[in-house]
Amino acid sequence: MLNNCFLLAEQINEVAEVTQGSQLPLALALTIFVLAIFVGFEIITKVPPTLHTPLMSGSNAISGITIVGAIIAAGAGHSGLATLLGTIAVVLATINVVGGFLVTNRMLHMFKRKS
């Protein structure tokens, strides 16, 4: 299992080196996109209504993953404009990530006690 993951990562990486700029070819990216949506539907329909608010704030924190792109934009040392945009994006995405996970944690602790 782990070996397979390793191989897949290696392959994705090789593709990345060949295609340079864009790291994933479109077909592969679309495959990942569609499969992830299916996974999402499968698990999220099982979340009970009681936890819908934490689900929103928690999944929201996960969508702050844009921070990965923001960090590269802010640190790649290109034009001043790209760095500025990247830095603001890092701020916004970090608020999203830190705020989202913390507030979800706060809420979920309320559900946990007393039950």
């Binding site: 993951c5 390793f6 990562a9 994705i12 990345a16 700029g21 864009s22 994933l24 479109l26 990216a29 990942i32 992830a36 949506i37 996974v39 999402g40 999220i44 979340v47 009970p48 209504p49 009681t50 819908h52 608010t53 689900l55 929103m56 704030s57 928690g58 999944s59 929201n60 924190a61 996960i62 969508s63 702050g64 844009t66 921070i67 990965v68 792109g69 960090i71 590269i72 934009a73 802010a74 790649a76 040392g77 034009s79 945009l85 990247g86 830095t87 994006a89 970090t94 999203n96 830190v98 705020g99 989202g100 996970f101 913390l102 507030v103 979800t104 944690n105 979920l108 309320m110 039950s115």
Partner: protein
């Protein structure tokens, strides 16, 4: 193993942790751990990115991380549970805004080839991200009830203007996708999509807010996924689509709970039926009652069902409700809560408030379950809810809420409605429940009323 492989594997690990994290949210017992797994995944993704070879300077990154972390932590620790819808709206917006900026920065850095998929994704990020950002900020302002935003700004040709804006944005996208060197086009699209975000959310309010928030939640995910296509980065695509799916599912649940289509919620206007009975006729037989009279009901009651609505959040009555719950339980009365999916201003709003007041989650029952036991209930207490308990939804096919599943409190032996006045709910129609033979109206502020009730029960 070279650095690229390490980073890719770290992203894979992060994606797996996100999925396990959301899976943890399927039960309150495992939810805290699930959220921590998600946070761990994010930490791994961030650390992996920091060792990326294209990063040559760190001071701006560190500045951004520190500023963002401080603001995020303060927001998360200070926010009141009643203000959670605003908080989520704001966070949705920031996610969308980040996507716009990252895609914009990528375009300035290395403009992709004309008509390439990366360029298409860049423009998709611009549209989705900007609509999410400004739509969410407006939703935030509405939920905070800032004076200027209490009523939608009215202007003619609402939908035609939206259509023109949409087409204009689309046209600029098409031109921009052919001409990557004109970065101004990108910001033009961002500007138009920003206006569109505002005009789309502007007419929506009140009880329709849960749908808007759930939809913007979905958009913030899709914006992240679009940025993933820009960067060719799998972890962004995976997490973005997870969140996108989550938001769409919630939107769907909310729409079903109102028996309205998404188009109707977003573009339609709720209008009271002209031929509907006049409010005065409906309310001719309303019976008011004082706390002492209502308190006597509990002498013989064996089961009580409390149905909270947005009014409970406004009155901050959740802790008083907990005291009432404990008092009744201590006298051997079974107390359950009936939660309508669209009660409050966001999915699960009531559950969070009651959890804050330390009411065990197994006392909170969903619509179908509570309806099946309401006929064997002695007292149903409606606290700050209106449309979700309006029997017209079942009886009047012309009503704007016709077909909406309701909590059938009228099946209980006695119904106590705690409400400040007979004013209509969001659907703006009278509620015959208030005048039903087995209904007692308790006119008061939600918190005050519950406290008075507790005092009266203790005395009797």
């Amino acid at each position: 193993m070279d650095r690229g492989t390490v980073i890719t594997l770290a992203y894979l690990l992060a994606s797996v942790l996100f999925i396990l994290g959301i899976k943890g949210l399927t039960h309150p017992r495992t939810a805290v751990r699930g959220n921590l797994l998600g946070a761990l995944g994010m930490l791994i993704a961030i650390v992996a990115t920091l060792i990326h070879w294209s990063i040559i300077e760190y001071h701006w990154i560190i500045l951004g991380l520190v500023v963002g972390a401080v603001i995020g932590a303060v927001l998360a620790l200070k926010v009141k549970m009643t203000a959670m819808p605003q908080m989520v709206a704001l966070l949705n917006g920031f996610g969308g805004g980040a996507s716009v900026l990252v895609a914009g920065a990528e375009l300035t850095r290395t403009p992709p080839a004309p008509y390439s998929d990366a360029l298409i994704a860049t423009y998709a990020s611009a549209v989705i991200g900007a609509v999410t950002f400004w739509g969410s900020l407006l939703a935030f302002a509405k939920l905070e009830e800032y004076r200027a935003f209490r009523q939608p700004i009215r202007y003619p040709l609402l939908q035609p203007i939206n259509a023109v804006l949409g087409l204009l944005a689309l046209a600029l996208c098409v031109i921009g996708i052919g001409q990557p060197q004109y970065i101004g086009l990108y910001w033009g699209v961002v500007a138009i999509a920003s206006v569109l975000g505002l005009t789309l959310v502007n007419p929506i309010g009140g009880a329709d807010m849960p749908v808007v928030i759930a939809l913007l939640n979905s958009y913030s995910g899709l914006a992240a996924a679009a940025t993933g296509f820009v960067l060719g980065n799998a972890v962004l695509i995976i997490s973005g689509s997870l969140v996108g799916a989550s938001g769409i599912i919630l939107t769907n649940i909310m729409c079903k709970a109102m028996n309205r289509s998404m188009t109707n919620v977003l573009f339609g206007v709720l209008q009271a039926d002209e031929g509907a009975a006049k409010q005065d006729d409906v309310y001719r037989n309303v019976k008011g009652a004082a706390a002492e009279e209502i308190a006597m009901l509990f002498d013989t009651a064996r089961r009580v069902v409390i149905v909270p609505g947005y009014g409970m959040a406004v009155a901050q009555a959740q802790h008083a409700v907990r005291d009432l719950y404990q008092l009744l339980e201590s006298r051997g009365i079974e107390v359950l809560f009936g939660i309508h999916p669209v009660a409050g201003r966001m999915p699960g709003h009531m559950n969070v408030l009651l959890a804050e007041a330390e009411i065990p989650y197994d006392k909170l029952k969903e619509l179908d379950e509570i309806n099946s036991i309401l006929s064997e209930t002695d007292v149903a207490i409606v606290l700050g809810a209106n449309d979700v308990v309006n029997p017209l939804a079942k009886t009047d096919p012309k009503s704007p809420i016709a077909g909406m599943p309701i909590i059938e409190v009228d099946k209980a032996k006695t119904v106590v409605v705690i409400k400040r006045s007979l004013s209509p709910g969001f659907a703006n129609i009278p509620n015959p429940l208030f005048a039903a033979d087995n209904t007692l109206m308790f006119f008061a502020d939600g918190k005050r009323a519950v406290l008075d009730l507790i005092a009266a029960i203790k005395e009797s």
